[in-house]
């Protein structure tokens, strides 16, 4: 078991119980998706996994080793978050943003190698190396964010809504990139509103409702589940067609 989470409870203040007794696991090499409505606690979960929020109870372990809820320790343990809405350093260049992703690493040669890997994943970034990240288009910014996340050489990459605000063509590109990142051996934990794509790409998926996991199983099975379809896929004919494919 690469990443495992047990009985996680997170509160905002005293009133809001955002995550309730959450437990789940991610195996090496998997793509695991988490879907759920707005406010279900998906981003809260991501923030908790990297130590930005402190759980009241519960443990997060990487290969059996417990991780203290401190962001740089989480990164050092091999967890890296590509946050919702990207959160780049807008006044730094693309190269500087990428290099900061490798902040904890000291192996300069390999950092350069990893940079090249990112360029082969997103060739457009190589052309934009000296440009300020804040002046890139939304799609390019998302590529930088994913690149920055990869630069710490994570064992598991957390992606929080990577398709948010992207044109359909770019959504396609981003998911293609996610697949190839997974294929090259990095485990992926994906949170998405685009439930169709998220379930389509996932080996396994969890459904989150009001801070609880209510359902879990292989991505394709959840796509076929009538309850999931009613709640997250809508009744659009597009979903039907995707299922027929």
């Amino acid at each position: 078991m690469l990443l495992s989470v047990e009985n996680l409870n997170v509160y905002y203040g005293q009133a809001i119980h955002a995550l309730r007794d959450l437990s789940f696991t991610v195996r090496e090499g998997e793509i695991v998706s988490i879907i759920g409505a707005n406010g279900a606690g998906k981003s809260t979960l991501m923030w908790t996994l990297v130590g930005l929020l402190k759980p009241q109870t519960g443990t997060i372990t990487m290969e059996g080793k417990k991780i203290r809820p401190v962001p740089h320790l989480a990164v050092a343990a091999g967890i890296s978050l590509v946050p919702e809405r990207r959160r780049l350093f807008p006044n730094l260049t693309v190269r500087e943003n990428l290099r900061l992703g490798a902040y904890l690493r000291r192996d300069r040669g390999e950092i350069l190698e990893d940079e090249e890997k990112i360029f082969s994943l997103f060739p457009v970034l190589k052309e934009r190396l000296g440009q300020y990240a804040g002046t890139l288009s939304g799609g390019q910014q998302q590529m930088v964010a994913i690149g920055r996340g990869l630069m710490s050489r994570p064992r598991v990459l957390l992606l929080d809504e990577p398709s948010l605000g992207l044109a359909p063509l770019l959504v396609e590109q981003v998911f293609r990139a996610v697949r190839s990142i997974a294929a090259s051996g990095t485990t992926i934990l994906l949170v998405e509103q685009n439930a169709l794509e998220a379930l389509g790409i996932a080996h396994r998926a969890y459904v989150l409702e009001v801070g609880r996991i209510v359902l879990h199983g292989p991505g394709r099975d959840l796509l076929d589940d009538p309850a999931v379809r009613a709640a997250y896929l809508g009744v659009g004919r597009r979903a039907e067609r995707l299922l027929e494919r």
Binding site: Y12, I35, G36, A37, N38, G39, E84, R85, L136, S137, G138, G139, Q140, E161, L164, G165, L166, A167, P168, L169, L170, V171, E172, Q193, N194, A195, L196, A230, A231, Y232, L233, G234, V235, G236, R237, R238, A239, R241
Partner: protein, 646 residues
């Protein structure tokens, strides 16, 4: 006794100044380092009137208040009109403060650097208490009024504020004027308490003390500055007995406060039963410090070791602070059920009293101005007699060398929902920003019902009938959902500024009730009625988007610009949003331009879609035509997408 009175008067005077400043700095976020200058204006004006002209005290103070407020326009108008940002504005006020000092030093009437000695001692506990209570009441009334809400909105997000039709300059000047007025009042009181003033008293140190009170107390609170300033005045006095340890303790305390409450003692909150314990903790620490000094002094006098005395003092302090804090928790729990009932009873009694006076005062209100015409409802079809609501001709905009919008032509029929799609960076949001006046237009025309709105100020564009939402959600985060929408209501409140200050029941109450009702209807429309009193910033993302739509609708637009309303929603939620937009569209009473990447949403709402790429329109037509256009597929949709038209 005289000692206690001195502490009280000192605190009260600085509290008045700090609460006044809170109305400006606390809510608009603009820092002032020159408010001592306004205290000086008030002090000199009042003193000269009582000293040379033998005026009675209160009228002299009133003149000081008015002159201070007027003086604030001298610095406020040029700086705020130039939109100086926070830090530059602070420097400008700093310069202003020094300039006023120099003027006073070289002016005959003020007797130059010698100052005015022998002012009558007219400030006493009685009139100071009265003025303090009055100041609190006035500040609170202002902030709860529609005028105050506008100021708060500007402080929260000035772009969003402009986009709902709030002009920045007059509202910022108003709050600056109010803060200067209260500083003037404090200055007048100070002069007639110390009986001697000279220009050097009104130094930057004094300005920073007041500003520090606002910051440590909490930006966005009146209670905060009140408590913080009291501490500033009281605590150094308490430490007097600690001799050399005094400054160490004072410094430690400030560090503790800032660590414990990085957003100030009270943040955005006012005093309530719920945060009563917080006040008790502060009181406990203060009391503890008092005891600590007493214990320390006694032990030193009894020839104890210094270290032992210090330890005992610290122990005493901790014990008392803990006791009082626990007491606060108890009191809060005890009062929790009682307070709402008492408040309800009081409000009912007061309402009855108001009704009793109704025949006498109810008719006294000014003549109501006619309500603004609601564009969505007026028969504007007459203009030009055409079906085109919006016609954009040759619109151009470039940033540096990058052409963002390149000769765009676009039309929106009356009652239509037009879809605007295109790759990221194709200029869609820039078009919205040009239409709503965020950026000046480089060229071209934007004709709304035949009238060119290109180049108008954002509030004028709102008046013309265009409202928008934002891709990155721009709500007034610390206001409630209700207040967010109320602030935007077209026409706004119907009462005058004077009535707002007095919270005049016959106008303010009635009008606020009406605004609340209108707001609740809008919240109900977007399905947020049950969240009305929740702080907007704590709402989940999807609900924030809906709240933004409600806020835009409050402006009664005839053209609504929605910028990616379905971003961050799953397909199911996006379907709900489609229903919501249909309700908002209301059979064509409101025309809509919709920027959206969720193709399901676009295809099911829009009969006509325009596609942008590199700032140009590359295609336009029905959903079917768009989906079969090879250029669109290549630039935007990709191969695999084709969406059923419902």
């Amino acid at each position: 006794m005289a000692y206690a009175e001195a502490i009280f008067l000192n605190s009260a005077i600085y509290i008045i100044a700090a609460m006044g400043l809170a109305v400006f700095t606390g809510y608009t976020g603009l820092f002032s380092l020159g408010h001592a200058a306004f205290m000086a204006v008030g002090a000199y004006a009042a003193s000269i009137l009582t000293y040379f002209y033998r005026w009675p005290f209160l009228p002299a103070l009133a003149v000081g208040v008015v002159l201070s407020a007027l003086a604030s326009f001298v610095i406020g108008y040029p700086t705020l009109r130039a939109r100086l940002r926070s830090d530059y504005f602070a420097i400008a006020t700093l310069g202003f403060g020094e300039a006023v000092k120099v003027i006073l030093e070289n002016f005959d009437l003020t007797q130059g650097a010698r100052g005015l000695p022998g002012i009558q001692k007219l400030t006493g506990p009685g009139n100071t208490t009265l003025l303090l209570v009055l100041s609190i009441w006035l500040c609170r009334n202002f902030l709860r009024s529609s005028y105050g809400r506008r100021v708060i909105a500007i402080g929260q997000d000035h772009i969003a504020a402009e986009m709902i039709g709030i002009p920045l300059l007059p509202n910022q000047l108003l709050s600056l004027g109010i803060s200067a007025g209260f500083s003037g009042l404090a200055g007048g009181l100070l002069a007639h308490y110390t009986t001697f003033i000279q220009p050097s008293i009104f130094s930057m140190d004094l300005s920073s003390l007041i500003t520090a009170g606002v910051v440590c107390g909490g930006m966005g609170s009146l209670t905060g500055p009140f408590v913080a300033v009291t501490l500033f005045v009281v605590i150094p006095e308490l430490f007097r007995g600690l001799a050399l340890w005094r400054l160490v303790f004072y410094g430690m305390l400030l560090v503790v406060i800032i660590n414990w409450r990085p957003r100030g003692l009270f943040g955005y909150e006012e005093l309530s039963v719920r945060n009563l314990p917080k006040l008790f903790v502060i009181m406990g620490i203060t009391l503890g410090l008092t005891m600590a000094t007493v214990v320390y002094k006694a032990l030193v006098r009894a020839n104890a070791y210094e270290a032992a005395a210090l330890l005992a003092a610290l122990g005493a302090m901790g014990a008392i602070a803990l006791l009082v804090s626990l007491l606060g928790r108890g009191v809060s729990r005890l009062l929790e059920p009682v307070v709402p009932r008492v408040r309800g009873a009081w409000q009912e009694a007061f309402a009855r009293f108001v009704r009793l006076l109704d025949p006498l005062l109810g008719t006294m209100g000014r003549k109501r101005r006619p309500r603004a015409v609601v564009p969505g409802e007026d028969g504007d079809g007459a203009v030009g007699g055409e079906d085109t609501l919006l016609r954009i001709l040759g619109l151009r905009k470039s940033f540096g060398g990058v052409v963002a919008v390149d000769g765009l032509d676009l039309e929106v029929e009356r009652g239509e929902i037009l879809g605007l799609i295109g790759p990221n960076g194709s200029g869609k949001t820039t078009v919205f920003n040009l239409m709503s006046g965020v950026y000046p237009v480089d060229g071209g025309e934007i004709l709304l019902a035949g009238k060119n709105i290109a180049g108008l100020s954002p509030p004028d564009i709102v008046t013309a009938g265009v409202a928008r939402t934002f891709q990155n959600i721009r709500l007034f985060g610390s206001m409630t959902a209700l207040e967010n929408v109320t602030t935007a209501l077209r026409g706004g409140a119907d009462y005058s500024l004077a009535e707002a200050f007095l919270r005049w029941p016959w106008t303010v109450w009635k009008d606020e009730a009406r605004l609340r009702e209108e707001t609740l209807m809008l919240l109900d429309l977007v399905g947020l009625a049950d969240q009305a009193d929740r702080t907007a910033g704590t709402l989940p993302y999807g609900l924030q988007r809906k709240l933004e739509i409600a806020r835009a609708l409050a402006l009664r637009p005839r053209l609504l610009l929605l910028d990616e309303p379905a971003a961050g929603m799953n397909p199911r939620e996006a379907e709900d949003l489609v229903d919501l937009i249909r309700r908002v569209h209301d059979g064509g009473r409101v025309s809509i331009i919709l920027i959206e990447h969720h193709m399901d949403v676009v295809m099911s709402l829009c009969k006509r879609i325009a596609v942008l790429n590199f700032g140009r329109k590359i295609a336009q037509g029905s959903p079917y035509e768009i989906q079969s256009d090879p250029g669109v597929l290549r630039a935007y949709l990709g191969e695999k997408v084709n969406v059923a038209v419902r």
